[in-house]
């Protein structure tokens, strides 16, 4: 019998963890990535990774409370069983990373140090300086390099995923292209794992890397894979405005004591240190006495947006507020936050240890993603429980298998059998808003926990008797051919015109797409504006059909790759805007001024976007698994709701 193979597309945390787990189980892995895996976007993650730990546990925290926080933070949109399994597994993931040599910060006694992060009152975030994502991905990269040198993993770096190959409803491979030689080639596999990360580039400027186009997900979507909660886009409250990128200022800056404020007097021209304490408006601390500066991201973002845009209190009247660390010991800051403070210093020129930083929200993360399934674990309370209270005994312990059934073949499988989605590219864990430092966790959890599912699918399911290697070539050849035609069509546009016309310049289209999406689909949304956005996207789509390239080279043609991705991003943008339009409520990151309340009766459901063969998006609401915790109002103990810009207000009034 021919040997089974697995393809992993994407070498971020999710992809690397999956490759290591699958290779370890004895299945050879082909790992594809547009960049060398070590340069994947996961390197950008700064703040840390969440897990219950012994210190927090002795203060009354538990894996269950982590679960409860995550569901509450996600505004009750996430399927609950997978989240439970993830938070229960988290401490074991930290242990594993520790064994791999991740240099987590240490206490004097040599234990892993912890920091506070958004959405929790317990220190449960493990960190390695302010470059946690970098350290985690390096550890996994090293393990995969080891697999590679043992011949268990073959890397295809600088190869771009173009489409899944689907035969009789089952995913049996992919078509990919070497971005150096431009060779288009089909690869066979008995299971394909998509771990291609987020889609920040759809919004033009974001905190994401330039490779985070979402094009890979869009290509799956276009080929029939469902896409859930596309409208759930996280806008991070604190980023450094910049010409090419909005660089993140991690939540850990607030976790370590950073305070957000503006001068009480509008257009106060004084230097920040000359403004006395009494004339500073610490608006988050005043409005949310319990959580203060570490309220979840969607709330902090809306508050900052409200202060600047609605109240005109932004620093110097602009769209910026202070994030102040100057009251902290500079030496401690350097040790714990060195990496991010250097970024600020490098790109802005001020030292945040002595001058408050100026920050503003920026698009950061996609909670939505490819639709995935799971098999419930053993935990099944008779009725959903009320919100968990700290220090009350958790209803269950953290044994594996209570949230999701380990090794069940459909864990994180999309609607196409054999095609999986791990990491940021799926929609499984974060509901309507992701808590800080939960993403790294979900990526690694997917790779490890659901990697086992991939193995079982191959061993026990469709591929078992019918390996992809033995299938007839028809679908593979057809996929290759279609992609070659698509390439040639685009490259052919060079000859027939001057490409400097903005209407047909791919970069101009990309920029307009980003501006439009940022304006219509971020912090605040309204029905009419979203409808306008959809019309604009239609226009951009028409313009894209006439796009003209400036380079016909059949070698390392970057602008071609960019243009092709724009076409796919347009498809994804449609799903995002359509999802936002259909969700006529406000929940988590999705805030509609025309529907400011959360509407559980109608919308405590996933919006599932489907793309038909003609490329038309339709959106349906699918029920979610809310069998473990009852929804409650998500107020984070908000005090003053008169000036409330967010939808939390009416809920708070009711509570």
């Amino acid at each position: 019998m021919s040997q089974h193979r697995v393809i992993v597309v994407g070498g971020g945390l999710a992809g690397l963890a999956a490759a290591a787990r699958v290779a370890e189980a004895g299945l050879p892995v082909d790992l594809f990535s547009v960049v060398p895996v070590k340069r994947s976007h996961s390197v950008c993650a700064q703040g840390g990774i969440n897990a219950c730990n012994d210190v927090a546990r002795q203060q009354g925290y538990s894996e269950y409370e982590h679960f409860d926080e995550t569901i509450y933070g996600g505004d009750f949109l996430a399927d609950q069983h997978p989240v439970l399994e993830m938070t229960n597994t988290a401490p074991r993931i930290i242990d594993l990373l520790d064994r791999m040599g991740v240099p987590f910060n240490r206490t004097h006694e040599g234990y892993r140090d912890l920091r506070l992060f958004g959405g929790s009152l317990f220190k449960r975030t493990h960190f390695a300086g302010a470059t946690t994502g970098q350290q985690l991905i390096y550890a996994l990269d090293e393990q995969v390099r080891r697999c590679e040198s043992e011949g268990k993993v073959a890397k295809y770096e600088f190869w771009e995923f173009l489409r899944p190959v689907v035969r009789e409803g089952r995913c049996v491979g992919i078509v990919a292209q070497d971005m150096r030689t431009m060779q288009v080639r089909a690869f066979r596999a008995d299971a394909v794992v998509m771990a291609t990360g987020g889609c920040g580039m759809v919004f033009g400027k974001s905190t994401n890397s330039v490779i985070c186009t979402g094009a890979a997900a869009a290509r799956c979507y276009r080929d029939g894979v469902w896409y859930a909660n596309p409208e759930m886009i996280q806008v991070h409250p604190t980023a450094i405005p910049g010409a090419d990128k909005l660089r993140l200022m991690s939540e850990s800056a607030r976790g370590e004591g950073g305070r957000v404020w503006v001068p009480r007097r509008p257009l106060d021209e004084r230097a920040p240190r000359d403004i006395p304490e009494s004339e500073r408006f610490y608006f988050l601390e005043e409005k949310y006495p319990a959580y203060g500066n570490i309220v979840p991201r969607d709330i902090a973002t809306r508050e900052i947006f409200d202060i600047c845009v609605n109240q005109g209190l932004g620093v110097n009247g602009g769209n910026q507020v202070y994030l102040d660390l100057t009251h902290k010991d500079p030496e401690v800051l350097s040790r714990k936050l060195g990496g991010i403070l250097e970024i600020y210093e490098k790109f802005v020129g001020d030292d945040p240890r002595s001058t408050p930083m100026k920050i503003f929200p920026a698009v950061h993360y996609s909670m939505g993603g490819l639709w995935t399934q799971f098999t419930r674990g053993s935990y099944a309370p008779a009725t959903p429980l009320p919100k968990h209270r700290s220090a009350s005994p958790p209803p269950i312990d953290a044994r594996p298998g209570q949230g999701m059934l380990p090794g069940a073949p459909n864990n994180m499988m999309t609607n196409v059998p054999g095609l999986y989605a791990f990491g940021e590219v799926n929609y499984a864990y974060h509901g309507a808003n992701r808590l800080g430092a939960n993403a790294l966790l979900s990526c690694i959890f997917d790779g490890l926990f659901c990697g086992a599912s991939v193995v079982n699918f191959i061993r026990n399911d469709a591929p078992a008797g019918n390996p992809a290697a033995d299938l007839p070539p028809a679908e593979f050849d057809a996929g290759e051919k279609r992609e070659r035609e698509r390439m040639n069509a685009l490259l052919g546009t060079v000859a027939d015109g001057r490409p400097d016309e903005p209407a047909t310049n791919p970069y101009a289209i990309g920029k307009e797409l980003g501006d439009e999406m940022t304006a219509a689909c971020t912090v605040v949304r309204t029905g009419p504006r979203l409808e306008q956005c959809l019309r604009r996207l239609g226009e951009l789509g028409e313009r894209f059909a006439r796009v003209k390239l400036a380079d016909a080279a059949a070698w390392s043609n970057q602008s071609f790759a960019y243009a092709r991705a724009i076409g796919d991003m347009l498809v994804l943008a449609q799903a995002i805007a359509r999802g936002a339009l259909e969700r006529r409520e406000s929940r988590g990151a999705h805030y509609r001024t025309d529907f400011p309340d959360r509407d559980d009766a109608t919308f405590m459901k996933a919006t599932v976007a489907r793309c038909d063969a003609r490329g038309v998006t339709s959106v349906a609401l699918d029920p979610i698994d809310a069998s473990l915790i009852q929804p409650t109002a998500r107020t984070y103990g908000k005090k003053d709701d008169r000036k409330d810009p967010g939808k939390a207000a009416p809920a708070a009034a009711r509570a």
Binding site: E148, S149, G151, K155
Partner: protein, 282 residues
């Protein structure tokens, strides 16, 4: 596509098979015996300048410089008569130098200088180390061949160095003749100046890098401190080298020969004195 490590290629020549050993021997020979000899050699030769003090009151009739000549003559004589198996020692030294030089050239050729782009101190020293290595090879070869192996055809004036008349014949060989400066002599003197300076730099800097190579100085601070130590050592050695040279250049070969004869070997000053000026320019 894939960066999987292919099975390590079978080692090729002896150079590759014994790579590590050769590298370390290269470093080691630079210190022992070459470096040790260099220090002894320069300290001895610089006695041309400070030797009067070394005489500890003997020969009160000699002036400062003549005292140096006398002391130096005694030192050299001592070495030539008291060191056992001198030739063997010398051969070991020559072989070491040849080994160090040969490998050095090979290693130096594996690098590509980029001081023009990266003009850091360390990089300049790296480049200088290689340049001074080449200079030192040329100089030492000339030095040994002319003064030790008697290749007098390379000496302007044709002086044959003699251990009995160490100072005066050295002076004559450098200045270009028994009678004093000649034009060619100026050239040789310059060569000595450059050669001695290069050799000393090469040694001092080599000592600094050796401590890194052998893992003796690990922290940046230790490397810096050892750097200062090497700088001081180099400066002292440079001073010794320059004073040796100055001593030789300042001396008048003929009168120096008289001093040497005075403190000379038991064989009798007369016989030697007759010997001394044998190799005047034809």
């Amino acid at each position: 596509m894939s960066a999987a490590s292919p099975p390590p290629a079978p080692p090729r020549g002896a150079l590759e098979r014994h790579h590590f050993l050769l590298r370390r021997l290269h470093s080691l020979t630079g210190i022992v015996p070459i470096g040790v000899f260099l220090v002894a050699h320069l300290v001895t030769n610089s006695s041309l300048i400070w030797g009067k003090a070394g005489l500890r009151g003997a020969h009160p009739e000699l002036g400062w410089l003549d005292g140096g000549i006398a002391y130096f003559a005694e030192e050299v004589r001592w070495i030539n008569t008291q060191v056992p198996h001198l030739l063997l020692v010398e051969i070991v030294l020559w072989v070491s130098i040849a080994f160090h030089a040969g490998l050095g050239v090979l290693y130096a050729r594996s690098g590509r200088n980029n001081v023009a782009r990266y003009a850091y101190g360390g990089n300049r020293r790296y480049a200088a180390q290689r340049l001074t290595g080449y200079v030192a090879i040329a100089f030492i070869f000339y030095h040994v061949a002319t003064l030790r192996w008697g290749w007098t055809f390379l000496v302007p004036g044709g002086t044959h160095w003699s251990a009995e008349f160490a100072g005066s014949t050295l002076a004559a060989a450098i200045k270009g003749g028994q009678a004093g400066w000649t034009l060619m002599g100026v050239g040789v003197a310059l060569l000595y100046f450059v050669g001695v300076s290069a050799t000393v730099f090469h040694f001092a800097n080599g000592l600094w890098t050796a401590a890194i190579t052998w893992g003796l100085t690990i922290s940046t601070g230790a490397q810096r401190r050892w750097g200062y130590a090497c700088l001081a050592m180099g400066a002292a050695l440079m001073l010794a080298g320059w004073s040796s040279l100055a001593g030789a250049l300042m001396m008048d070969p003929a009168s120096a020969a008289r001093v040497e004869a005075m403190v000379g070997a038991p064989a009798g000053p007369g016989a030697r004195q007759a010997d001394a000026p044998t190799h005047v320019a034809p």
